[in-house]
Amino acid sequence: MVAKMEKATDLLSSPQSLFSLKSLKLKTKQQELLIRISILCLVYILAFITRLFSVLRYESMIHEFDPYFNYRTTLYLTQKGFYEFWNWFDSESWYPLGRIIGGTLYPGLMVTAAFIYWILRFLRFAVHIREVCVLTAPFFASNTTLVAYFFGKELWDSGAGLVAAALIAICPGYISRSVAGSYDNEAVAIFALLLTFYLFVKAVKGGSLAWSLASAFGYFYMVSAWGGYIFIINLIPLYVLVLLVTGRYSMRLYVAYNCMYILGMLLAMQIRFVGFQHVQSGEHMAAMGVFFLMQVFYFLDWVKHLLNDQKLFQAFLRITLTCAISVGAVALGVGTASGYISPWTGRFYSLLDPTYAKDHIPIIASVSEHQPTAWSSFMFDFHILLILFPAGLYFCFKRLSDATIFIVMYGLTSMYFAGVMVRLILVATPAVCLISAIAVSATIKNFSQLVRTKTKPTQGGSGKGTTSAKTSSKGALDQSLPYQKNGAIALLVGAFYLLTRYAIHCTWVTSEAYSSPSIVLAARGAHGNRVIFDDYREAYFWLRQNTPSDAKVMSWWDYGYQITAMGNRTVIVDNNTWNNTHIATVGRAMSSYEDEAYEIMRSLDVDYVLVVFGGVTGYSSDDINKFLWMVRIGGGVFPVIKEPDYLVNGEYRVDKGAAPKMLNCLMYKLSYYRFGELTTEYGKPPGYDRARGVEIGNKDIKLEYLEEAYTTSNWIVRIYKVKPPKNRW
């Protein structure tokens, strides 16, 4: 891979090395085309295979939490057909409320996977739908590299396109969400996002109806795939606005935006989950406002053309602008006041103000991927791109065009959002790769031209090629500088070294950090051997085999999708966190005393309670560590639950010094039941919690209303059965 990276940049930037291929008798143009295509093919394959680590390390399986829901729905779609899927009312989740699956998901991913599956079936490949789902993300990552190439070509030149394709193929920020098995919306959405942007930029550049129509369809695909489409529908108006303000308004822009907006909006309304939001929700109003502004602009242009009188036009302009703005403001005010236009959602607010979620919406703040990004994870996910990004911005500003303005805006806004939420690094990745690619490509091109202009006289007539007269004259001008050639060579070597490091880093990150399925855990044993903890699947299969088919399982919402997908049992709450009250009820049950919790569980018909416990294995993302969020979310709806009751001097602890309520709440009891008898580590007292490194405070736990039903081999998942009410009381 490293070698290839170098090749990608090397071959491209020094075309004179091609002349050794004279025996092929191809013209330079043809040779260049051939090399470009072969590089693209290699990048395409590379993007696919670098994402297969997880399949090789573990097995072909679905990862994480949300992908299990996507897998379950895809399975349903392939088995029952599209209409059943569209109208699916799922009574197995959110008991007893149920969930209208068809109307509350983005179907793009499932439909795409099902389509691939049906095509493969039609071609007589007897694949299982799971394999298709596992490999959807790598396949679309490969496609993204192609889009990145064309986008880079559109922005700068084909060299930048090739570099962008190579960079994005292995960029960890993107790989984190698109390894094999990571069957999530983002897997196809990034492809759709970049495609939409590319087509829109192309439409703006040429003012072509066809391209903007294509971009509307790209937008439709994006809307069908991921909620992140909101980024597109706000970035594009912002871009248009910036062009208007900077005086770059043109007929091309008018055609591209209006066509894309109107058609994209109408198409997006076909997605049930989105519905009429384009005309009814605050998040989409910017696009509509810009749309109307464009009409005003056009109208003014026309009036100006008719009037031919500067003074009169100025007066007219003032009146029209005042009128337009006040009409818009009144419409927005009336719409918002009457409730026709819904206000911004909490998620949107938390993007603009990173502290908002922490104070107001604990359910958003509780998700680790919604936390503000640390510097280290920027470094981890972007590596040298982080340094190349400003350099790329510099090149973009130096050669401003409609297209580079777009990529600059995309890069800057998405960088901001990436700083707000860890998961949005993903959205920034294509922009960062493209802008960095411009930097890399432009730099290497300049240097290699420098190197070449010196050697040209010695090589004689072979110097013509891609170098234009302008650059050669520039090179001749620079010739006066001393050590220029050596300096250029040194810098080129440095650039190649950096790119090599980047490739090594990416491969390492992919194999070490981003390829674990998180449903199967791996750890290093005492002798350096790999230990696999397959407790989750063990527990889910136990549920599937040993509980009545209509049993209801209560667990924290993180595990809901997995329980329904793998355990095939009804859950109270799951990862689709649409009903905060229901989740808060579960949080309240978990943080109450056993008898109070029993009442809640009876009212929800709960038969089994599932908790995840890492005290034996040292697995740190278990329910005890998530517990404070349950308290917060529960307390947000039921004020009887108070966070300070579970803390001692603001400190969260589980040992002897823990708060009495903490030591006796349901979650504590279920996690540590019988744990006091167990010696987990040599030389430590029994009941030593390895995840938190303390000896637990309540070792003598008696359960009155629940009984232990199953504990997995490493105690990671513990399942309890809710007892029926007492017979004689």
Binding site: F89, S91, G98, S603, K726, N727, R728
Partner: protein, 438 residues
């Protein structure tokens, strides 16, 4: 030869089969085999009227001394008896493997229990009673004393022989025939635990009664007073096991059955106390000869269809029916009542309807599914004094409309249809004019 043997086995198994078909089962819920544990065998003769009445009703009584080392309630995991009568108030520990926990387990397995304590009841008996929600007076020597509604007797005693007429009004527990004479009671009083919702008094003391040691002087106010004192209580457990707890063993005795009674302050002298009727009728209830209901054949379907759907749609019209029968002691008879209700329930009842009956055991109703989707339950929670509680829950999801179940054209939207079609036409015309006008 072998044929003859088979025939012989067949013949010999007939009475056994007959016995089997008569035995206790969910289909035939009256108890058959009853274990009677006694302090000493003299009780067998002193209470013979009571035992005889049970035996003539077909019960198979097995008398054992309470400390007999051979008593066992179960063998190889099977219970040997359907019910237990504990007439051994003074026993400190049972013989064999029997203990309080085993008796409670017996009850929790769905079997019935009649427990009679007495003054100076042992801790073991008290423990069993308190596990069933009945707390006997802690003073071992205490008896219920009543200076106003005692039974008049020849010798002016200490007023511990009480003529109780504070009897619960329930046909199903005490039979249709009213108990006219007061019930004689001499023994320990108890209170019922307020935390227990299943226990209830069927014979309570008068407001002037109190519980104390009649032989000593009252030094402190008695802890149990007035009508809070229960003399006889019953429990119907959640699994419909029935328990009768009495504070007096002698109320079951032949002597009390036969003696006449005159309540103090009353001029009516009954020649026979109400005891026989009272304890016989309660034993009928305890042993499931009465008040045992079953609900079968829960059916629901859309109006006009017969098949039971796996899911309903909002606003569907549906019909629900259930059959309820009462056990008469020998057969299942249709249960007739006008207060059986069904709930269409999701966290709270969305529909609550009283079921109509055809007097033949079938209860039915029809209603519209509410305009709410979710996982509903058809719930029948029938809890009526003395009857077994019926608790039926049948889960059924309710889905919203499918995409093609909405109305295709709405009259109110005709202006919009007109607008869009005229717009299309206008656009077409405009394009023609614009393109080809010049």
């Amino acid at each position: 030869m072998s044929r003859a043997l088979a025939l012989l086995t067949l013949l010999s198994s007939f009475p056994f089969l007959a016995l089997l078909s008569n035995a206790f089962s969910p289909e035939n819920p009256t108890d058959r085999r009853v274990l009677v544990l006694l302090d000493d065998f003299s009780i067998k003769s002193s209470h013979s009227l009571y035992f005889n009445s049970l035996q003539t009703r077909g019960y198979d009584l097995d008398f054992k001394l309470a400390d007999d080392p051979k008593i066992a309630l179960q063998r190889y995991g099977q219970y040997l008896y359907d019910a237990l009568i504990l007439f051994s108030p003074t026993i400190d520990s049972f013989g064999g493997s029997l203990n309080a926990a085993a008796i409670l387990e017996f009850v929790d397995a769905g079997h019935d229990l009649i427990l009679a304590a007495d003054a100076s009841a042992s801790d073991l008996i008290r423990e069993i009673a308190s596990e069933c929600g009945v707390d006997f007076d802690e003073d071992a020597a205490a008896m219920v004393v009543d200076h106003t509604s005692y039974a008049v007797s020849d010798t002016e005693g200490d007023h511990t022989l009480i003529a109780g007429d504070n009897i619960i009004q329930s046909d199903v527990i005490l039979g249709r025939e009213k108990i006219k004479a007061p019930v004689l009671f001499k023994g320990i009083g108890h209170s019922i635990n307020p935390a227990n919702s299943l226990v209830m008094k069927i014979l309570s003391a008068s407001p002037s009664a109190y519980s104390a040691n009649p032989k000593s002087k009252l030094s402190a106010p008695p802890t149990l007073t007035g009508s809070a004192i229960s003399l006889v209580s019953v429990v119907q457990a959640r699994n419909n096991a029935r328990i009768l707890i009495s504070g007096s063993l002698s109320m079951f005795s032949n002597r009390f059955f036969r003696s006449g009674v005159q309540k103090a302050g009353s001029t009516i002298n009954h020649d026979k106390s109400g005891n026989e009727q009272f304890v016989t009728e309660t034993s009928k209830w305890v042993f499931h000869e009465r008040g045992h209901l079953k609900a079968v054949n829960v059916r629901h379907h859309k109006v006009g269809e017969a098949e039971e759907p796996s899911i309903y749609r909002i606003n569907d019209d549906l019909e629900y029916s259930v059959e309820v029968y009462e056990w008469s002691g020998t057969s299942w008879e249709p249960y007739v009542a006008d207060d059986v209700q069904v709930q269409f329930y999701m966290m709270s009842p969305y529909v609550l309807k009283t079921l109509s009956t055809n007097q033949k055991g079938v209860y039915y109703t029809s209603f519209k599914v509410p305009d709410v989707y979710g996982v509903f339950q058809f719930k029948v929670e029938y809890e009526k004094l003395g009857f077994t509680s019926l608790s039926l829950a049948k889960q059924i999801p309710v889905r919203p409309f499918r995409h093609n179940e909405y109305e295709r054209f709405i009259t109110t939207a005709f202006p919009y249809y007109g607008a869009s079609f005229s717009m299309m036409g206008g656009f077409f015309l405009f394009s023609l004019v614009y393109l080809y006008h010049k």
